[in-house]
Structure formats: structure tokens, C-alpha cells
Subunit: 599 residues, 2 copies
């Protein structure tokens, strides 16, 4: 099996040319992100990925996490890897230095996370969820809660979980039934069962901080009656030391299609009537806190789509370079070619490569928008960047995770029969990737969020600005002419389709919500493909400028232009392919009755 | 878990309206296919599927086939199911009554096979391979070989395997190294190792007839030096009884992503220097025999794509009708809707349904063309039908198996978190389906076969005829107007794209074989989507005619028209999405050097 290799070259290209890291590092509070430090950090993060996390990825899948007597044992090597991760200070990268964080931008943190997730998706889920919980605590926690939990969570000594789902409350969070009763001392008695709790119990951290959604007595129905609670596995004494075990336990693990290393727990709260929880944020305002947590997590899950795609690409590429089968046109019958020389295999590799690079731009830009929304000195810019990061988040999550699955599948295909055999490792990525379009809000939910909440934001201004940027990119490409000029037309056409479909949705949703719901997924898809074309178009322009200036790695820069042209020809037409569906409305979806669908 | 339900209504619709079963039954030798008999046969085949094969599908996946001391034990219930299958006479359905076959058309046999494969893909692979071997023996076997083997193989008492692949000879069959030396008595001494041999060893049949590709001493290199041999597990005595064990054994089983019930064997021939084989066909003409075998198997594997998609659809539909989450627009906050009422879920279900029905048409038509090629009294019609079945086969195989994977993935998605948990069963289809684009010639190989061999057949006449048929369908739809008229334009446009791309490929391949190889997969995809639109358009026309005539099941007929319209809007644009890629040529594929791809 090919070892994981950190794609630092492309990461730097994206951070410097698409994200504008220099501008980001100039913002107050982000000055840690000076170029040499970022370079060094990413190089070390890459070593963490390739030397520590990658070697236990396949074995962790084979062993899986196990539950016995309430104790979850993670696969061999996980505990040691987590210790190295905490000792390296990796967990705190993007967080407030006040709590021991590194104060680095999310744009840079995402690059590091990409490598860890490429190397070991199942392992990296644990810190991923921890991050979301830290965000929620930072934003909504009382001074006391922050003082008690944040430093340990930022360091990673304590991990954290998100407890939303119950058997009858999945996408419909508002249907949850877990209870929280005031105990009279400011704390709450928590009871109920939660399912699909990732790393709900494990042996890697000293303590586990569960963030649990529950209802107070007499809370209003639905999402307006939900509160969020901090429920530690071990209660924390006044001096910060760990006290007694709280009344919370893992009662079973799910047997899953993939990410076997990661324990997916059924958690039971308050079986003995003594589960202590601490209110986080205001009563009945739990959904707001949860969204803070989920927004960070949704970008991160989108990143996982990119990460697994990059890993699948690397493995397929290594296999294609080694495996010899058949001959290229004109080759003597006595010879055989590495399959990478076959046009059809090469096409598959280019599909992987171009979409990976497009996703990388989208994800890092999404992270950079979040950074600017928090750190820019101008409130108007902060508002605009906040709107941008919110708009991009569902696209990052859904488009990148759908592609993660598709690209992992191409990876299996390039392996031929060996791809279907588990020992090759390609099949693991295909299995692992499949959770990504589901968790942290299914991709259908993301599409509804995009169309229902994000598209109408600021009167549609954020989308209009993005479309204007796409058109400006197309114009610049057209101006550059030559190989770049060939990208201009398809990109310009893609921008037109985004404009046309978003106008149609805004106009029609007002009268018929189902018009938006029916077109949501095709719209998200075409928006994602169009953004990919836009970012690769900008990449080609930047590469062209560098080539003309004689700067940089010539091979890499020329490849950027080829990749953008390939994407424009072979991938970007997906924008058009989703156009009619985005504007089709609900008529045909409901024209066959539910019963008749089965006949 | 929802039980499998035979989709007899749609099968009859396709057989009567798209295949024209009545015309088929009028051909000499196919008179067994009279409507009442076919109805009864399919109903019974459906019971075999739902009552016997479906109940052991999930458990068979959990248990898997096991190897111990050279003996392969299939999962509980497999042996009994196979006995019922043989006793029911199912194995012989399409074969010559002279050897105990049923003399039914392939078009009808495929409908029965669809149900068995929907119910249990892993089990149904065994008879599928048996069929290919029977075809090869019927076409190329000596009278003695036929007399010795055919009746037992047609009944299914003996199963059969196809032994092509070796560790260094996968897609490149010509690279194989297994040897066959004349023993001086007309038989051959076989030696070598074969991998990925499906049902190479098992406990369901009395004997296993291996068809093995090997090289004679001093055979020419490559595919022109390959011969095919019959190598029985037990030698057959003159009186037809089983004699001594032949020197062939299963040395290990692969650990696979899916189809766990089906043993995938590493087979070793002649470890003790005493493996007896019988030449099938002429020396060094093994590839020709193998193609006979593979062509039948390729249609059948395409059918497996349809079958797994149908099963995934049924399960997702049942889940969506039961699972309640959230509310539809306007629903009171105290209520909750079955998720089938949500537009985005309904869109996914319609994607599944419409593409399943399109595939069903393609596969049965492909089978019917094979029937006519063999049974039509007019040699000119036979030739045309032969060309048609050969043209359609790679599309059936590749397009349907890619869709099988995609639709199984949509099935997982509709289940949300439950889809990722193995106990739901949706994940099994996702895993099982993934082998289909790989075996019996990867889908890349199919595309190359389509472009390189099939497209140029008869000077491109077969493709031109299909395009003319598509245009005639579009015209008829346009003439019908109303709801049907809306399908005409997209279909007409699709026919234009097929014409444009096939002309381009024919014109450019002559000078640059890589031009064809580069565009092969996008061309196959767009051809498949276009044919789907054509067949659903014809279905809509037939449904409309029946509705106007007041005949048939109104609900089913109206649904057919809706399904065709949905496909035209949401699926058919994939034709255009693959257009540019089909004609892009190889330039951008090879513009980045193999080394630079990794940087």
C-alpha cells in the first residue's frame, strides 16, 4: 500500500493564490499566521499525518473499536497517536491563545486537518467534534464553564461530543425527548438516550465532555423548547481535578459500513437518576448553541470529503503507476504498459485530481471567510464575510462529500478486481466516505439550508457578489486568451446558470416553498460545480501570471492550467446538467402518489 | 427490513410494449414464450426470489462463504436454495430443450434473473456463470463434450466457472501463463493459478465444471495463443457417473467489500501434475470461445446493475413511507410527515425509479435482440439483430452497473444515519453493487469495446439505425403533444448528441486511436442516458395509447408518462454533460506527465 504523502505544494498554492494568506495574517489576532510559521506548521502537521495517523488507518479499520463492560477500547495505536496529537499542541491550532490555543486562522487549520483526515478519517473525527464543542463553549459558555472546561478541551486532554440524535429525532432535531430537570442547585438532572454519538466513549482522553440537547419541563414543543447542557463523563472538582463518574454510559456500539476505528455509541443518560448537567447558553436556546457547533463541524465534514478524495487519488495514482496491463496504441505485443498510460485511466485520474483541487479551494476559502468574519476590523466587511461563510458552508459540506464518495469510487475502479478486495485499502475509503453525505446534517438538509436560509440572506446580495466574481474571473481568462481563454466561455455560462437558477428559486419559493425544496439539491450541486470552475479558473490565472513572471515551480504551474482546462471541459458541464432540475418545481415529484410508487 | 416484491407489473409492461414479446414468441424455436406461460413463469420465478432467495440474503452477507481444508461452505440456506432452484428447472430456462432446457427467450429469462439477483446477488452469481459456460459449450463443444456435460449443466446439477484472470493477467487476458500440455490421449495436463474465480469451489452442486484459459507449448504470445479447456472438479466416467477428484483445488478465498455469500477463489491447477483438461473449440482459439461466454455474462452483469438498483429502490421506498421526520410546508408543528412527503426525498426516489425502468427496457431489449439474432428466419434480420445485441451489450454492462452503484448509494442516503448501519441492509446493496462495474470486463474495457469494435460495425449502420429510432420516438412524442410533447425536445437533442459524438469518434479514431480511447467512457455514458430517454419515451407513447384506448391499469400508465417526463428533465441532461468530454481527445489527459500528477 502506498503511504500518505502530504500535498503541501498544492496547499501552499491555494493558501497563497486563492485564499490570500498574507492578507489574512494582517488581520488583528491572526498575526501568528506569518508565512514561515505556516509553512513549518503544515510540514509538521503532514508528518503527524503520514508518520503517525496513516500507519494505523488500515489496521484500525480491521480491528475497529470494541465495547466490553461499558468500556470502549479503540484500535491499537489510537491511544498513543492521540497522545502525540495532544502533546504536539495540534488540537488548539485555531483557538484563542487565552485558553492555550494557537491563534491560527481556520484557513490554515483546515489544511492541517485535511492531512489528518486523509491519513485517518476514523481517528480524526474525535478532534473534529472536539472543535465544534469548543466553538460552542467559547461563544455561549458562562465564565465558570469556560474556566472549568475550555483549557482542557483546547489542549485535547479532554475530548467532546455532540448529542443531538435520538431514535425518532434525526434530521428533525426538534422531535427529541431527552429531559433536563432543575436540581435546585443551578445544575440539572439529565435523562434520555442518544444515538449515533461519535466517540461517545473511548480510552484516548482523560475526560469526555458531552454536549447534550434536552428539554426542560414545560418547554415549548419543537426546536424552540430545546436547551443545551454540558455533561462531563467525570464531574470536575473545584480545583479542576476529576471527581466521581457521572451517570452516563455507552450501552452499545453500532456496526457500521465504515469508519470502524471510530466508536459510534448509543449513550444512556441518567439510568440511575443521577446524571448531572450544566446549562450552556440560555434555557430553550439550545438550537442556537448547537448551530454554532454544527457550522464549524459542517465545514470540517466538507473537508473530510476533500481529504478522503485526496487519499483515494494518491492510492489510485500509485497503483496506476505500478500496475502493468495491456498496451498503449502502437506498442509492440511483447511489451506492456503501466495502466497510467491508458487514456481511460488517465481520464479517471484527472477527474480525481481536478475535483480534489477545486474542493481544496472552496474549503480553504470557506475557512478564510470565517476568519475574516471574526477578525476583520471593519464591521461591514465582517458582516459580508459572515454571510459568505454561511452561504458556502452547505455547499462545502454537501458538494465535497458527494464528490468524496464519487472519487473514492473511482479509486476502487482504477484498482480493478484488486479494488474490491479489502487488503488493497481502496475499498476502505469507499466505505469510510459514505458517512460524509449523511452526518452533520444530510446533504438534503444542506441543500434546503442553502436555498431556504442562505440564498435569501441580505436580499440575495451574497450570491450576486459571487456571481459577479465568477464573471470577473471569466473575463480575465478571456483577456488572457490562449489556453486560458478556452475556460472563459464555460465558466461564463456556468455563472449565467447560477444567476438564472437562483433568481428563479428566489422568485418562486415565496409562493410555493416546495418549489425551493424540489430544486434545492440540483441547485446546490450546480453551484458547487460552478464555484469549482471559478476557483480553478483563478488558479489558472495565478499560475499564468507566475509563469509569465518566471516565478515558482514551472511544472506545478503548467499543471494548474491543464487541470483548469480539463475541469472546464469534463466537469463544469454538470452545471448545465442540473439546471433544468433546479427550476423544475415540485409537480413531477408528487405526480405519482406514494402508494403508486411501489407498484 | 422490507421484503422483496417482484415488480411483475413493470416487467410485463416492458415485455409487451418495448420488447414486443408476441413477435418474439412467433419466431421458430421460441414458441414456448406464449403470454400465459410467460406470465405464470415470471410469477413463479418471483416467488423463488421473494420466498427462498431474499430471506437468506442478509444472513448470507453476515456469514459469508468459508474455506477450511479445501472445502468451501456456503452460508446457511444456500445449499437448500440451490436445490430448490435446480428442482424448479430454473437453471435451464433459456437453453435448448434437447439438453433439458426450457427454450424460453433471453428477454424472458432476464426478467426472471432480475428477480433472483434483486433478491440475492451473491447467490445468483453461481447460476449466472453457469449460463455463460453452457453458451460456450453449446457453441464450441464437440459432440462428446456436449453429451458428457451439457445436460447436467443445463439442469444445474453441475455448476460451472470461468477461469480467465491470473495475478498479472486481468484486463489483459493475453498475458496469462497457465499451461496445457498434451497427454497423448487427446486430453491435456493443466497447470497454473487463477484468481477471482467466482464459485470456484462450493458445496451446492455435485460437480463443478471449470472452463480454463491456458497456453499450449509453443503457442504464439498474446491472445492468439490461448486455448480453452474443460476441467471438471470430478472426472466423469463413460457412464456419466462421477469418477476421481481432479487435481484442482481452491487454495484461498478473497476477503471482499461485498457479495460475501459468493466464494471468490484462488484456484490452483495441477499441483500434483495430474490435472486433466479437455480442449473446448480449436487450439489457440480460446479467446473466441471465451467471448461467447463473456457476451452472455456481460448482459447478465448489466442486469445485476438493474437488479440491485431495483432492490435498493424498494427498500428505500419502504423506509421512506414509514420513517417520520419533520413537516411538509404548512403542516402544524405538532405533526410529523413520512419522509416520502418531502420533496427532496421524493426527488431521490424518482431518480431511482426512472432509471431502474430505463435500465429494464435496455436490458430486456438487449436480450430480445440476442433472441432474434439466433431465431429469426431472415438472415439479414439475424445479422442486424446480432449487430444490435453486440452494440448494446457494453452499454448494458457499463451504464447499468454504474447506475446500480449510484442508485444503491441513493438508497443509503434516503435511510440517513440508519443507512450507514449494517443492520438496515441498505449498506449491503451499496457494497455488493461495487463489484459490478469491475468484473466481466471493467466498465473502461466496455467503453473501449463500444468505441473500438462496436461503433465501427457495419460501417456505423447499427448506431445510425438506433439514432433514427430515437428521432422517430421524439417525433411521435412531439406529435402526441401535451405532456408527451415536453419529452420530444430533450430526446431529439440527445439523439443529435449521439450522432455528433459517434461521427466525431469514427472520424478521429482512424488517425489517432487515443482519440477514441479518451472519449470512450463519456460516449458510453451519454449513449446509455440517451437510450434510456428513448425507451422511456416509447413507454410514455405506449402508455398514452393504452390510456386513450381505455385499456390497462390507469395508475400504472399515468405513472409511466410522469416517469418519462421526470427522466427527460432530470436525467437526460447527462447526455449533454458528457458531450464535450466524448470529443475532447487525449491532449489534456496526457498534458501532465505521470510523475507530475503526484506532485
Amino acid at each position: 500500500m502506498a503511504d500518505y504523502r502530504a500535498p503541501l505544494g498544492d496547499m501552499r498554492f491555494v493558501l497563497n493564490n486563492i485564499v490570500d494568506l498574507k492578507a489574512l495574517a494582517a488581520l488583528p489576532g491572526l498575526d501568528a499566521a506569518e508565512p514561515e510559521l505556516v509553512d513549518a506548521v503544515l510540514e509538521e502537521a503532514g508528518k503527524m499525518a503520514s508518520q503517525i495517523l496513516d500507519p494505523i488507518n488500515y489496521s484500525g479499520d480491521r480491528t475497529g473499536s470494541r465495547l466490553a463492560d461499558g468500556v470502549v477500547t479503540t484500535p491499537p495505536g489510537y491511544k498513543e497517536a492521540y497522545r502525540a496529537y495532544v502533546e504536539g499542541g495540534w488540537n488548539g491550532m485555531p483557538f484563542d491563545p487565552e485558553y492555550g490555543g494557537g491563534g491560527l486562522p481556520w484557513a490554515v487549520t483546515l489544511a492541517a486537518m485535511e492531512m489528518w483526515n486523509s491519513a485517518n478519517l476514523a481517528f480524526s473525527l474525535c478532534p473534529l467534534l472536539n472543535q465544534g464543542a469548543i466553538e460552542a463553549l467559547e461563544a455561549h459558555g458562562s465564565d465558570e464553564l469556560k474556566a472549568t472546561y475550555l483549557a482542557k478541551m483546547v489542549s485535547g486532554e479532554w475530548s467532546a461530543t455532540m448529542n443531538l440524535t435520538e431514535p425518532s429525532a434525526g434530521s428533525d432535531v426538534g422531535a427529541l425527548r431527552s429531559k433536563a430537570e432543575p436540581r435546585g442547585d443551578g445544575t440539572y438532572r439529565i435523562s434520555g438516550q442518544k444515538i449515533f454519538i461519535t466517540y461517545g466513549e473511548h480510552d484516548m482522553a482523560e475526560n469526555i465532555v458531552h454536549l447534550v440537547l434536552a428539554r426542560l419541563p414545560d418547554a415549548p414543543p419543537g426546536t424552540r423548547g430545546i436547551s443545551l447542557f454540558v455533561v462531563p463523563k467525570f464531574l470536575v472538582e473545584a480545583d479542576g481535578s476529576l471527581g466521581r463518574r457521572n451517570d452516563v454510559r455507552c450501552v452499545s456500539l453500532e456496526e457500521k459500513l465504515g469508519i470502524h476505528g471510530s466508536p459510534t455509541c448509543v449513550m444512556s443518560y441518567g439510568d440511575e437518576g443521577d446524571c448531572v448537567g450544566y446549562l450552556l447558553g440560555a434555557e430553550n436556546k439550545g438550537m442556537r448553541c448547537m448551530f454554532t457547533m454544527m457550522n464549524a463541524a459542517r465545514i470540517s465534514v466538507g473537508l473530510q470529503g476533500l481529504a478522503i478524495a485526496e487519499r483515494a487519488y494518491q492510492r489510485a495514482l500509485a497503483f496506476a503507476a505500478e500496475r502493468r496491463q495491456g498496451r498503449t496504441p502502437g506498442m509492440p505485443a511483447t511489451e506492456s504498459a503501466a495502466i497510467i498510460e491508458h487514456a481511460d485511466v488517465r481520464r479517471n485520474l484527472m477527474l480525481m485530481k481536478s475535483q480534489v483541487e477545486a474542493m481544496r479551494c472552496l474549503l480553504y476559502v470557506n475557512g478564510a471567510a470565517l476568519d475574516a468574519a471574526r477578525h476583520h476590523p471593519d464591521p461591514a466587511v465582517r458582516e459580508a464575510r459572515q454571510a459568505l461563510t454561511e452561504l458556502l458552508t452547505p455547499i462545502s459540506k454537501a458538494w465535497s462529500t458527494d464528490l468524496g464518495c464519487e472519487i473514492a469510487s473511482i479509486g476502487v475502479q482504477i484498482h480493478g478486481g484488486m479494488g474490491f478486495v479489502e487488503e488493497t485499502g481502496a475499498a476502505q475509503y469507499y466505505r469510510d466516505a459514505r458517512i460524509l453525505p449523511i452526518y452533520e446534517g444530510t446533504n438534503g438538509i444542506q441543500a434546503i439550508d442553502l436555498v431556504g436560509r442562505k440564498l435569501p440572506m441580505l436580499g440575495g446580495e451574497t450570491v450576486r457578489e459571487l456571481i459577479a466574481e465568477m464573471r470577473a474571473t471569466a473575463e480575465a481568462l478571456s483577456g488572457a486568451g490562449g489556453d486560458l481563454g478556452a475556460i472563459a466561455d464555460p465558466l461564463s455560462r456556468a455563472a449565467d446558470v447560477v444567476a438564472e437558477t437562483s433568481d428563479w428559486l428566489l422568485a418562486n419559493m415565496a409562493n410555493d416553498p416546495n418549489a425551493g425544496l424540489a430544486g434545492a439539491t440540483p441547485f446546490l450541486k450546480l453551484f458547487g460545480y460552478a464555484l469549482g470552475g471559478h476557483f480553478l479558473g483563478r488558479s489558472a490565472l495565478a499560475a499564468n501570471a507566475a509563469l509569465n513572471g518566471g516565478a515558482g515551480n514551472r511544472e506545478q504551474l503548467e499543471a494548474k492550467i491543464v487541470t483548469a482546462r480539463f475541469y472546464a471541459t469534463q466537469v463544469l458541464p454538470q452545471v448545465d446538467a442540473n439546471r433544468a432540475a433546479a427550476m423544475a418545481g415540485p409537480e413531477l415529484l408528487f405526480a405519482i402518489g406514494a402508494d403508486a410508487l411501489a407498484s
